[in-house]
């Protein structure tokens, strides 16, 4: 299992090495845009153990335990209301921003508990980014300002003006949006189409160089062409980030994800490599869901 994953990983790297791809410096090894010294297998994994969550007194998650491997795309699938969005919002401490939101259990990033008493939610969120279902660029800001917002406003060191432009450009390239907006960076962020807005939100998220990118149904509000572009983007992004994607579209999970977790009524039913989940699942409920018998 590990061997074939490794092989597929290396194939992905060489595929991206082709000169037509307009990315930041073509790496032999996954390399962070800021060029910090990297271990050979970059990326950060997360692990959730027995995670429970409540909205007020109503319990939405009943003990989810799952691991997200570094530099992999993990999909969360399941019928509406099964708790996938709730779970993903627990992963970057957004659930507690909902009135009445409460989380129990352990969630770690590279072994560090993000719910530790001395863990600052703001810092956690700068390491675990999120792209939402409906594109939400900041309405009063230009394209440039949108991408730069995280860099300028989050608590990191002050960034010099020249560096800022360079990082904005890198993020827009990474999101596959640079060519379309390079000569109108000062246009309002809201003037883009839906698919472009979503890619802008992705650029904004990766500009702060998080370790993990969470995506809550990122393409469900978009047309099929834009959806395809987002899926291609996810395949590229996974070289640099660990991706967790919530999707109600099973075909999308099959196209995009290395591993898939199937959730039902706030519980994790089955988790495993995507191929297995879709062709030979262990649990009968999984089989019924992926063959469309319900959901």
């Amino acid at each position: 299992m590990a061997g074939s994953d490794q092989a597929r990983f290396e194939t992905e790297v060489t595929r991206v090495d082709t000169p037509e791809r307009d990315l930041a410096p073509t790496p032999q090894v996954p390399q962070r845009p800021s060029g910090r010294p990297q271990p050979i297998v970059a990326g950060h994994g997360m692990e959730a153990r027995d995670v429970k969550a409540w909205y007020g007194s109503s319990q939405a998650l009943h003990g989810i335990s799952v691991g997200f491997a570094a530099n992999q795309v993990t999909a969360l699938i399941g019928p509406s209301g099964c708790g996938k969005s709730t779970f993903v919002r627990c992963l970057n401490r957004m659930h507690e921003e909902t009135p009445g939101g409460r989380v129990e259990g352990s969630i770690t990033l590279d072994g560090h508990d993000i719910y530790a008493s001395d863990a600052d939610p703001v810092t956690v969120r700068s390491k675990i980014g999120m792209v939402f279902q409906k594109p939400n660029p900041f309405p009063t800001k230009s394209i440039f300002e949108n991408v730069a917002a995280g860099l300028k406003l989050s608590g990191g060191k002050r960034i010099k003006r020249a560096d800022l432009s360079e990082r904005v450009e890198r993020s827009l390239r990474g999101a596959g949006l640079w060519d379309e907006v390079r000569d109108r960076l000062n246009a309002p962020g809201m003037s883009l189409s839906g698919g472009q807005q979503q890619r802008l939100c992705i650029a904004r998220t990766i500009a702060v160089e998080p370790d993990v990118v969470l995506m809550d149904e990122p393409a469900s509000a978009l047309d099929p062409v834009a959806t395809l572009r987002i899926e291609e983007l996810i395949a590229e992004l996974r070289l640099r980030y660990t991706i967790v994607i919530v999707t109600h579209n099973m075909q999308q999970a099959a196209r995009v994800a290395d591993s898939t977790a199937f959730m039902l009524s706030g519980e994790l039913v089955e988790f495993g490599p995507t191929d297995k989940i879709f062709t030979n699942p262990d649990d009968e409920r999984t089989e019924q869901y992926v063959t469309g018998k319900f959901g």
Binding site: N92, M94, E97, P99, V122, T123, V124, R125, S126, K127, G129, M130, F132, K134, N136, P137, F138, P139, T140, K141, A149, G150, L153, S154, G155, M190, C201, R204, T205, V208, P210
Partner: protein, 295 residues
């Protein structure tokens, strides 16, 4: 098979016809009522213009009142006085009102927030003469009339308008915008300042304009606090300041027909001012609403 269809007519008869007539009559009545409402404003402005025509000229707005017994002169002192009173009111009411609106909208618990909103709504409904007499008892009795006390009374009238409008325009900014900021690892306060507030800014300007329009013509509080004023342009708020509404009142009580005409002219100046601000504010409000919600 016989194909003769039974005879019938598509015209309305009996009960249906009666209902049709009632429908038409109601429509007519409603249109007439709307026309009357619009006509009232038209008549009002029309009669003010007609009665003020003889006294309105450039001198009227640039010269001080004529000395006792003479004709001519203007309301320059009242214009300046009203301007200063409104300025004092704005300096007090705008910061407090905006912050109160921000507090109830963003940072207060729902119970506290709805209590504050109720209090503000009640304050909005307090008759201005009561506010006048309250400030009179507090600041004027035992001392003397002053521009400050007049300005404070106007500020109390302005405050709930600005606070409620600020709170309402902040509520218009979609929650997803705030979430986007938080998910980037930006702290709550900075998210609010840099992302939410700019979106609501136009609405706050509109709220201020509406507050000014309301307060520009308030007479009762000024009768108590700033009515015995000089006949020349004064800018010292520690003295009672002349104002347009009080001038209208005093002139209309005087025996001189020249001053009656001047009262009408002052009324015209006031109504033009209020109308202009109201129209500008409403036009701005639509634009501000679009900006807040991101179109």
């Amino acid at each position: 098979m016989s194909t003769t269809a039974p005879e019938f007519s598509l015209r309305a008869t009996g009960r249906v016809r009666r209902r049709q007539l009632v429908n038409r009559a109601s429509l007519l009545a409603a249109s007439l009522a709307a026309l009357v409402a619009v006509a009232v404003l038209g008549l009002l402005i029309g009669s003010v213009i007609a009665k003020a025509a003889s006294a309105i000229n450039l001198d009227f707005i640039t010269k001080d009142p004529a000395t006792f017994g003479m004709t001519g002169g203007g309301i320059a002192n009242a214009l300046v006085g009203t301007g200063i009173l409104i300025l004092i009111a704005m300096v007090i009411a705008v910061p407090i009102g905006v912050f109160a609106g921000i507090y109830t909208s963003e940072f207060a618990k729902p119970a506290v927030s709805s209590t504050v909103r109720l209090v503000l709504d009640v304050l909005n409904g307090v008759p201005s003469i009561i506010i006048g007499i309250f400030i009179f008892g507090l600041l004027v009795v035992g001392h003397k009339q002053s521009g400050w006390s007049g300005g404070i009374a106007l500020a109390i009238i302005m405050l709930p308008i600005i606070a409620r409008s600020t709170q309402e325009v902040l509520a218009l900014v979609p929650g997803t915008v705030k979430e986007a900021g938080l998910a980037l690892g930006i702290s709550r306060w900075r998210t609010f300042l840099a992302v939410v507030l700019p979106a609501a800014f136009g609405g706050i300007i509109t709220a201020t304009l509406l507050g000014v329009a309301r307060v520009a013509g308030e007479t009762a509080p000024l009768l108590f606090t700033s009515s015995i004023a000089a006949n020349t342009v004064t800018t010292d708020p520690s003295q009672a300041l002349p104002s347009i509404p009080v001038t209208i009142f005093t002139y209309s009580e005087s025996p001189s027909p020249d001053q009656h005409a001047q009262a009408w002219a002052a009324a015209l100046v006031l109504i033009v001012f209020v109308l202009l601000i109201s129209i500008v504010a409403r036009v701005f409000a639509a634009r501000a609403r679009r900006r807040a919600t991101g179109r």
